[in-house]
């Protein structure tokens, strides 16, 4: 029943899912960093930064991910010649996809963190100001650590969505799970089985993510 799987070795089923994992982890880390910076901008006292943060989030989260990913390849790469330091087509596609995912997911991460910042009582920041900490110290030492702990749950949602969103990278030829699935469906007769295999693969990736992060969010919750 699963014989056909051995016909695929570039990439193999596991190899394709490994690419999916790599896309998810790299984009996840990147969007966490960029999303945090955006959230800091959105609560900063500088109007220009607040404006940029707000504009970025509202523009980027309202563009379909497919448009963003296709743009990184056809727009950034083909027209503006951005190669992300890669000569190889495969590597370039992968890196461009990560760039697109980071840009897109960061908007959602930013909003999650900003809602977390709003759960930190104002008194915490006031007490920090009262002992003479400056804005970046207050954010870094007092507000963000508490904000992060309260948004682990929402961030898990974003991460799960990101994992599944990586399938869009197939649109620019990144050899991840969805591209392999498309290839298999074209070549084989067992369409339902193939669908089930890939659905199961994604559940295997996302279910533990959700459970572990859910447990973490309970464990790390700030008691008040």
């Amino acid at each position: 029943m699963f014989d056909f799987l051995s016909d695929y070795d570039d990439p193999s089923l596991l190899g394709a899912f490994w690419t999916t994992v790599q896309l998810t982890v790299l984009s996840g880390v990147g969007s966490l960093v960029w999303g945090t910076i955006l959230a800091a901008m959105r609560v900063s006292p500088v109007p220009l930064m607040r404006g940029f943060g707000t504009a970025y989030v509202n523009i980027v989260r309202n563009i379909p991910l497919t448009v963003i990913i296709v743009f990184t390849s056809l727009g950034l790469s083909d027209i503006f010649g951005v190669t992300m330091g890669a000569s190889d087509f495969e590597v370039r596609g992968f890196r461009l996809a990560v760039l697109g995912f980071v840009a897109y997911t960061a908007a959602f991460v930013c909003e999650a963190i900003r809602s977390g910042i709003n759960t930190v009582p104002l008194g915490q920041a006031e007490a920090a100001r009262a002992i003479g900490l400056n804005f970046t110290q207050i954010l870094r030492l007092i507000v963000l650590p508490q904000a992060f702990r309260s948004v682990i749950g929402p961030l898990a949602n974003v991460l799960i969505a990101l994992t599944k969103n990586t399938t869009v990278a197939a649109a620019i030829g990144v050899a991840e799970a969805a591209l392999l699935m498309k290839e298999m469906i074209e070549n084989e007769a067992q369409t339902l089985l193939i669908g089930a295999i890939f659905a199961f693969g994604f559940v295997v990736l996302t279910l533990p993510t959700g459970l572990i992060l859910g447990w973490l969010s309970k464990r790390l919750a700030v008691k008040r």
């Binding site: 009582p121 008194g123 915490q124 006031e126 007490a127 920090a128 100001r129 009262a130 002992i131 003479g132 900490l133 400056n134 110290q137 030492l141 007092i142 650590p145 508490q146 702990r149 700030v222 008691k223 008040r224």
Partner: protein
């Protein structure tokens, strides 16, 4: 009840706490107890230029703020005359502030000299807390001038942060950093603002926690402590910055009645040690026993300023008489 509220006597920071809530000073000075000498060392190390003032003041404080014994008015004026004019620590001149249409501070003029304990009282919404918060610029002011130790209050940025480090603040809702242990709460400012060495900061933090009587709770998180303990940690956190002046914004208003005294005791001891304090409170007992001066505010104005005995026994303004008749006799 507080964990270390043992029946009978306990000795803390060189002061003996009798079985009740009364605080009995073992010795007027700093020599006999190890803890007191540690506290003294901290003070001496951090106010080198003001040592003499402090020593002199310490004795004045002991003499003049003598616990619950009523002191004659004349003695107070002697104390005040002994303070030179150049020793004005906090000066507010013609300060005005609006919250929208509400004129919450109206032409406030107030001068607090070094070592003085000023208690601000008044009905809710009279601007007491706002006044307190303008002094370290947690609230901005619309007009007027505030200076601390001769320097005008900076508007923003590094200079403001530096000034805030010199002004300790204790809030009604404690505001301990919820994700940090008690010890981390007290060391944070020393490490990040004063750039102190980690070991020295922890040593100092433990000494301060000992002084406010919560040394056994050092590794717990704020949520695990009672309100009174949290507020005492908050006082230790402010003291760790070696502030020139301490602001207390209704420090006991959020506490259960049985925890109020343990916080007031710490504050009274601070007052005896010569700390400059501005205290917004509804605790009239504290105002009577620890204050050098009572400032009565109503509707955004300072209506009356007087020494506690005069204010409570013979208020001049009708507004103060009305206020006192409502809170003192029922």
């Amino acid at each position: 009840m507080d964990k270390d509220g043992v029946k009978g006597e306990r000795v803390e920071g060189g002061f003996r706490y009798s079985a009740g809530t009364q605080l009995v000073q073992v010795h007027p000075g700093w020599l006999p107890s190890r803890r007191v000498s540690a506290c003294y060392q901290i003070v001496m190390l951090n106010f080198p230029s003001d040592v003499m003032t402090l020593v002199v003041r310490h004795y004045y404080c002991l003499r003049n703020r003598g616990g619950r014994s009523k002191r004659p008015m004349t003695e107070v004026s002697v104390t005040k005359d002994a303070v030179p004019m150049a020793d004005d620590l906090v000066v507010l001149q013609n300060v005005n502030k609006h919250f929208g249409a509400l004129h919450v501070l109206q032409d406030i003029d107030l001068t607090i000299t070094r070592g003085e304990v000023v208690v601000v009282i008044g009905p809710s919404g009279s601007g007491k807390s706002t006044l307190c918060r303008t002094i370290n610029r947690l609230e901005s002011i619309d007009s007027g001038a505030i200076s601390i130790d001769g320097k005008p209050l900076p508007a923003e940025g590094k200079a403001l942060a530096r000034l805030r480090a010199d002004v300790g603040m204790v809030f009604q809702s404690f505001n301990l950093f919820a994700h940090k242990t008690v010890l981390e709460n007290v060391t944070l400012g020393q490490l990040k603002v004063r750039k102190a060495d980690k070991k020295a900061a922890e040593e100092k933090a433990r000494a301060l926690l000992d002084r406010v009587g919560v040394s056994t709770q050092a590794d717990k998180y704020p949520a695990q402590l009672s309100g009174g303990q949290q507020q005492r940690v908050a006082i230790a956190r402010a003291l760790a910055m070696d502030p020139k002046v301490m602001l207390f914004d209704e420090p006991t208003s959020a506490l259960d009645p049985e925890m109020i005294n343990e916080v007031l005791e710490v504050m009274q001891q601070l007052a005896r040690d010569g700390m400059t304090m501005i205290v917004v409170t509804h605790e009239m007992g504290f105002a009577r026993s620890a204050a050098n001066r009572v400032v009565f505010m109503a509707d955004g104005r300072i209506v009356e300023e007087a020494v506690p005995d005069q204010f409570f026994s013979n208020p001049r303004s009708d507004r103060a008489k009305d206020f006192l008749s409502k809170i003192l006799h029922h």
